[in-house]
Symmetry: C2
Subunit: 408 residues, 2 copies
């Protein structure tokens, strides 16, 4: 008998029929003898409907009241799912975040979970009930309703799994697992049976949108085995867990991630002086523009060149700011380019394998793809290339690292 | 400075624009220096939408989960109203029934309020805030969400007023007060400035649907002055309070109520024996059919005749049952009639005035209206007459008791 926390997102509970289908899935697990706790999102479209009502009333809706408002979305789902479970012959009980004591700080709209009192849930599970908890929400110490921010239901599920010491946290979504890369780009992309928290984090931060980064971090921190599965199809999904030391033959590269949402800015010919990077990048950050890849070089004449990427939506603001900075610092010129993409290879195997970068650069060169920027971390190598080469690059790398083959 | 509890129903908060209008009303009171607590219903249509979702899932939706579901309706309203108040420059804070500790028993769907902890509300009021509370809901001792049943927001408002020791509880609705009778029947019907709890109860039980009976009982019990006012028009409304001993000249009759929803059943020629009324009416009650007027007579031959009225929807069931009882008891016949109406005159002045019944019967006789049944209570006389005479009877009585004149 295992204790499983399952999470179903808005699409999975988007209609009455889908809620019934979820109830069937949960009921099957319950009948098989597992103790099941379910975290759910609002029915798809509901949160936006509520936000729409609020914005008709207040231009900048009050954050405390916004949480009171949008938290009703999940509350509707928990009640309906419990009814569907009861209709399927399974005893079930619903709880809002506040009722089950998901204690958060009081940062309305982006609260962080501080503690969960698993007492009441354990009592229900012991009595043979399925427990259904509203995702995305909690309450602060004074009992005010808080929300964890959009997509926070994943975090609720992981936090519940950690607090209840669950055997597994299953995230049901509209894909059947984590793939070596996007199957729309590489037809041979393969579902991974396993991936480590670190790899998943790198994949997620590179644009693989299956899981909220925060929930993966949380799962890693508390070592909660996380499984991504499909709400609509049968299958084992992908297990995200700690690195498995017993696994003799680790794949060097687990997956290839990419991101088309960024643009590149370069400021050239900055008279070199201490603190140049801070002067440039600090000002950009201060304007609340998130910076991703950063590369700095010093030329022969000791003038510095700094290149960095930002989200394409921020390009105009960043570029205006940079022109100002360039003139302040006496730099020569500012260049921008929004026709670039970021491609990364990710894998814990890199730690113990040499020559991974060489293989990557070689295979891109063989396709005639020029690399504009390179950054590396312990388990990831990222390059920035021209946008038009994206598909070609991903396919070449997928093949170069043998990702289409079945796992060893 | 007064402490006022205001209640706005589903129609009054049915759209974003109406919520803004309510906020304006509340803000005006707040600026005038009053401490204001607002209880609200769900936006009109919302509760039915939620019940519809539930009934798509479970034929007999689980009562606990139904309360979790429908209580979201008021939760949406409290958040939106607080946003509208803040937009109007008034600090406001919303609370669900559970948050503000409206403690109820655990009878889901028809819970009764046991206690309210006014602490938190008083703190907010003292800090200059308007407090907005979700009507119709509470929580039991274990923290489960409960609802008071439909229309229960009136009860929430009265209970809040009692717990907070408010100066007045104002019920905002789509009429501008309590009338001497239905203005659609008598054009001369007049809005009453004042009426007693007892009179209001008799009016309400006779089909005057402005207020929930339970909330009037509650207000009477705790002596909370209740004022019925229009959400859409200015005006003083009608104050419902204890009998005012100072009022020298009490009107004999305050209003005329009527009810077209009943049908009459007669069982004739029952061999008289002890317990006949119980045998007949007990069986009807046991079938969960509510009985209203009851009249019993004994004929010369000692056989008994019992006549009673039930809701028209229950007529078929009651009549089938009565046929069975008649044959068991050896009664002669069963008669039914669904073309009847009940007309009542109501007034605390009756207690000290003789001849009221005579005036009533005389004025009906003058119009050629035959009285089928008569029952009386201390402050009410009810007759059952043929349905087609309804308007004629009400107009005649309205005039006979001088209700169209301005109050003394």
């Amino acid at each position: 008998m295992s204790l499983i926390v399952q999470k179903y997102g808005g699409t999975s509970v988007g209609t009455v029929d889908r809620i019934k289908a979820v109830a069937k899935k949960v009921a099957a697990g319950h009948r098989a003898g597992d103790k099941i706790v379910v975290a759910v999102s609002a029915m798809s479209g509901e949160t936006n409907r509520l936000i729409g009502l609020a914005s008709e009333i207040q231009e900048q809706p009050n954050l405390r009241e916004m949480d009171v408002l949008v938290s009703t979305g999940e509350q509707v789902t928990i009640a309906l799912l419990c009814m569907a479970l009861q209709d399927a012959g399974v005893e079930a009980r619903s709880y809002t975040g506040g009722q089950v004591r998901i204690l958060t700080d009081n940062a309305h709209g982006k609260a962080r979970i501080q503690e969960i009192d698993g007492h009441r849930i354990h009592d229900d599970l012991d009595a043979g009930r399925v427990v259904v908890v509203a995702g995305f929400q909690g309450a602060d110490e004074a009992g005010n309703i808080t929300t964890l921010g959009r997509g926070g239901s994943d975090t609720t599920a992981v936090a519940l799994a950690a607090a209840l010491n669950a055997d597994e946290c299953q995230i049901y979504t509209d894909v059947d697992g984590v793939y070596t890369t996007d199957p729309r780009v590489v037809a041979e992309a393969r579902r991974l049976d396993k991936i480590t928290f670190e790899e998943m984090l790198e994949m997620a931060s590179q644009g693989s949108k299956i899981l909220q980064i925060r929930s993966v971090e949380f799962a890693g921190k508390y070592n909660v085995p996380l499984r991504v599965m499909s709400s609509f199809e049968e299958g084992p999904g992908t297990l995200i867990s700690l690195e498995d030391d017993d696994q003799m033959e680790k794949p060097v590269v687990s997956g290839i991630a990419f991101n088309r949402d960024e643009a590149k800015l370069t400021i050239r010919g900055i008279p070199d002086q201490p603190g140049v990077a801070y002067k440039v990048l600090g000002a950009v950050s201060a304007a609340n523009i998130e910076i991703d890849v950063i590369v700095q070089n010093v030329a022969k004449d000791n003038s510095a060149t700094i290149t960095f990427t930002v989200h394409r939506n921020d390009l105009k603001r960043a570029s205006d700011l940079l022109e100002q900075i360039a003139s302040d610092l006496g730099a020569i010129e500012v260049d921008t380019d929004d026709r670039i993409v970021k491609v990364s290879i990710v894998g814990v195997g890199m730690r113990s394998h040499a020559g991974v970068a060489a293989t990557m650069f070689e295979s891109l060169a063989a396709e005639g793809i020029n690399i504009q920027l390179i950054t590396t971390s312990e388990i990831k190598i990222t390059v920035v290339i021209e946008e038009r080469y994206l598909e070609l690059a991903v396919r070449a790398l997928h093949s170069a690292f043998g990702l289409e083959q079945s796992e060893a």
